[in-house]
């Protein structure tokens, strides 16, 4: 496998100046109906997977979407690529509304928005050769690049660090990391402007994960492709994205540049999330730079009947009556940097330093720790 990736010079088509909005999403909502009853099955409720989110991805930017399972981050990715029909809201690509565009209208845009999937085993057709898989998008869109499709595929294989001779092999002959590279090559085949990467490295081993992250970063920087990077691993998202949005139960609760989210978070949930990441402390001082410790109680509530008002209030240590009555808007709180928006009535201090007293909401933990201290 090649480590020094050879990349072609950026295309002239990337003349769009960076910083211009490429994808704009407003009020995006997806509710999945829940059916029940006998003998006639009626809709008895809805899983509110995504509930009114706004986000903008700029040209050439890498935008990270982070959250725990069930927060709606993957659904958001699928709505944006129009693999699912949104219940409400608008998606516009380069200023053009594509929310309900027909197959025909979408066709030219589909080639510009590509997707990389989580599972490199189920996202490649086992009956097709690598060459066929990667040239598939070109065939569908009737594109014959200069020098033929095969030449382009070999070029793509080289870009993603695979041997061009592997053209006629089948997916089962490759390891997980190599398969993910094939998925990346397929996504690059049509020279996309936006790639939606849904947990592209979470199925891979640590040592392989770093290889694929580096590849994606190289592709992003040198080909100027915008990324919507969906992942649950906060460290990987931080490494890959310039701007980051944190989701909880179908809503974006905080969004901002990476620096703000990771060092000056305001939303209690962002604080809890960051403090929960297990970290290797490599510094020799045992006490130096202690991080805050927040342990929430219980699990995420069901998205079928999410809490009223602020959705995080049932697990929040700062919740008051106002949180149940009024949904906090996603706004720039005083003291925040430009573009750092938080949806919270009672935001936290913008620091992740250790507190005088840990916040332990889990009753079992609190009881055990009290017992240990009491001894």
């Amino acid at each position: 496998m090649k480590e020094d990736l050879v990349l072609p010079a950026p295309r002239e088509a990337a003349a769009d100046s960076a910083g211009e909005p490429l994808l704009q999403v407003a009020g995006l909502t997806k509710h999945f109906p829940v059916k029940g009853g006998f003998p006639i099955r009626r809709t008895v409720g809805a899983v509110q997977a995504v509930d009114g989110i706004d986000l903008t991805v700029h040209v050439g930017e890498s935008f990270g979407l982070v959250g725990e399972s069930g927060c709606g981050k993957s659904t958001t990715g699928r709505l944006i690529t129009r693999l699912m029909e949104p219940t409400a809201g608008t998606i516009s690509y380069r200023g053009k509304d594509i929310t309900h565009a027909s197959r025909k209208q979408l066709a030219p845009i589909r080639s510009e928005i590509q997707m990389i999937f989580q599972d490199p085993y189920s996202s490649l057709n086992p009956r097709q050769t690598v060459g066929k898989i990667i040239s598939g998008p070109m065939e569908i869109n009737d594109i014959v690049p200069e020098g033929g499709r095969e030449k382009r595929v070999r070029e793509l294989l080289e870009i993603v660090g695979l041997n061009p001779e592997h053209y006629n092999r089948f997916p089962h002959e490759f390891s997980g990391g190599q398969r993910q590279r094939i998925g990346v090559a397929r996504a690059l085949a049509l020279e996309p402007k936006l790639i939606v990467a849904d947990e592209p490295v979470s199925a891979l081993d640590v040592s392989i994960q770093a290889q694929v992250v580096n590849l994606l970063q190289k592709v992003q920087a040198e080909l100027g492709i915008a990324f919507l990077f969906i992942a649950h691993d906060l460290a990987v998202v931080r490494h890959f994205s310039q701007r980051v949005a944190v989701m909880y139960l179908g809503k974006i609760i905080e969004v901002g540049d990476r620096e703000s989210i990771y060092t000056r978070p305001r939303h209690p949930y962002t604080h809890a999330l960051l403090s929960a990441v297990p970290e290797v402390n490599l510094s020799d001082e045992t006490d130096g730079g202690r991080r805050e410790r927040i342990r929430l109680a219980g699990d995420v509530p069901s998205p079928i009947s999410p809490p009223s008002g602020c959705r995080f209030r049932t697990r929040c240590w700062k919740a008051q009556d106002k949180c149940a009555a009024e949904e906090p808007p996603l706004i720039q709180i005083s003291g925040n940097h430009e573009g750092h928006l938080t949806a919270c009535h009672f935001p936290e201090e913008p620091t992740i330093e250790g507190r005088d007293e840990d916040i332990v909401l889990d009753p079992a933990l609190a009881a055990l720790e009290e017992g240990i201290e009491g001894q």
């Binding site: 190599q178 290889q211 906060l234 460290a235 970290e279 290797v280 219980g298």
Partner: protein
């Protein structure tokens, strides 16, 4: 450390203090493609009340080792050689009936996926009560009360009612708590936790890890904690053993292994992992290549095809001679102790940011 290669030939006698002692363990499976040597010459010790973290990638043999300790492998296709001593009792040659007395009583296990590890047919309370009845001879009623008590201890709200629920009525985090309750119900001396938080979300993972640590303090259990996540290991373990392709490559206390690692594979793991405080916009430093197939493992040092420090050893030693792991603080690598120290300080540490 200089005695590394001299000593390693003969298996080290079992440590007298050790509660669990694994000596020169070999586990291989018969498959259609040939014999897979999943564990190849592994030795380690664990004392009471301590936590040993085993870290490694998929296929490194970390789970197989621990399934073998409890005799959970399929004897029809598995060959086990070597010694496993649990509190003086030899387990590799033990009869099934003797193993049954150990499992769930003296040694218990927590699995990665609680939904497949719990039976969907029985209530959670009954599943927790069952091993207690079997091992202590308690009555049905006493065992049920014990199950409710344990559920309360691991933080299931309203345990009296929830004990009557089935696993599917629990959330992922609660199921893992129920598994912990089940594992600890007989107050085992050894707890094997095989990636217990990998399937969980990060905030729930933090709760479960803290819970395990607090329970360990209360019960004084020895824990073997298996994971691929160095951050989790740093949180949990007293001692660390790094595994690669069926063998241990480095061992030491948590501080020794994470702050002054000696093996190129450990360096690679630390370097390839993004952290919340690592330098931004620097590319990661992945380990080149892919883990080897255990059907045809590489000759000599298993890590040599991916190792970038081979030339420093010189000659063909890495390809021909398998470096062995001495007891205590050690790493299985042909580099000299001095080389390991200087390479880490001068080349690896600066890249960790």
């Amino acid at each position: 450390m200089t005695t590394l290669t001299k000593e390693a030939g003969a298996p080290v006698p079992a440590d007298a203090d050790a509660f669990l002692s694994v000596r020169d363990l070999h586990v291989s499976f018969k498959t259609e493609d040939g014999i897979v040597k999943a564990v190849d010459g592994l030795s380690f010790d664990l004392e009471r009340g301590r936590t040993l973290g085993i870290v490694g990638e998929s296929g490194s043999g970390k789970s197989v080792t621990n399934l073998t300790i409890l005799g959970l492998h399929d004897p029809k296709f598995t060959t086990v050689e070597g010694e496993i001593l649990l509190d003086g009792q030899e387990l590799t040659t033990a009869r099934e009936s003797d193993l049954e007395k150990v499992r769930g009583n003296k040694a218990a296990m927590i699995f990665q996926d609680p939904l497949t590890a719990l039976s969907p047919y029985y209530t959670v309370g009954r599943q927790i009560a069952e091993p207690f009845m079997k091992h202590t001879g308690a009555s049905k009623r006493a065992a049920w009360e014990r199950a409710v008590e344990m559920l309360g201890k691991v933080g299931i709200p309203n345990p009296k009612e929830r004990a009557k629920d089935y696993p599917h009525q629990f959330s992922g985090g609660m199921r893992q708590r129920a598994m912990i309750a089940m594992a600890l119900v007989c107050d085992p001396d050894l707890l094997i936790a095989d990636e217990p938080t990998t399937a969980l979300d990060v905030t729930v993972q933090a709760q479960i890890l803290d819970l395990l640590r607090d329970l360990q303090q209360e019960f004084g259990t020895a824990i073997v904690f298996i994971t691929h996540d160095l951050g989790v290991i740093a949180d949990m373990a007293d001692d660390i053993m790094v595994m690669y392709a069926g063998g241990a490559v480095e061992r030491g206390t948590m501080n020794e292994v994470l702050r002054s690692p000696q093996h190129p594979y450990t360096w690679g793991l630390l370097n390839s992992m993004p952290r919340l405080d690592s330098d931004l916009d620097e590319p990661l430093n992945p380990i080149p290549g892919t883990p080897p197939s255990l059907l045809t493992p590489p000759s000599g040092c298993r890590f040599h095809p991916r190792c970038t420090f081979q030339d420093r050893v010189g000659g063909t030693r890495c390809v021909t001679e398998r470096p062995l792991l001495a007891p205590d603080r050690a790493s299985a690598c042909h580099l000299t102790a001095e080389q390991k120290r200087t390479i880490f300080i001068e080349e690896i540490k600066p890249r960790l940011g």
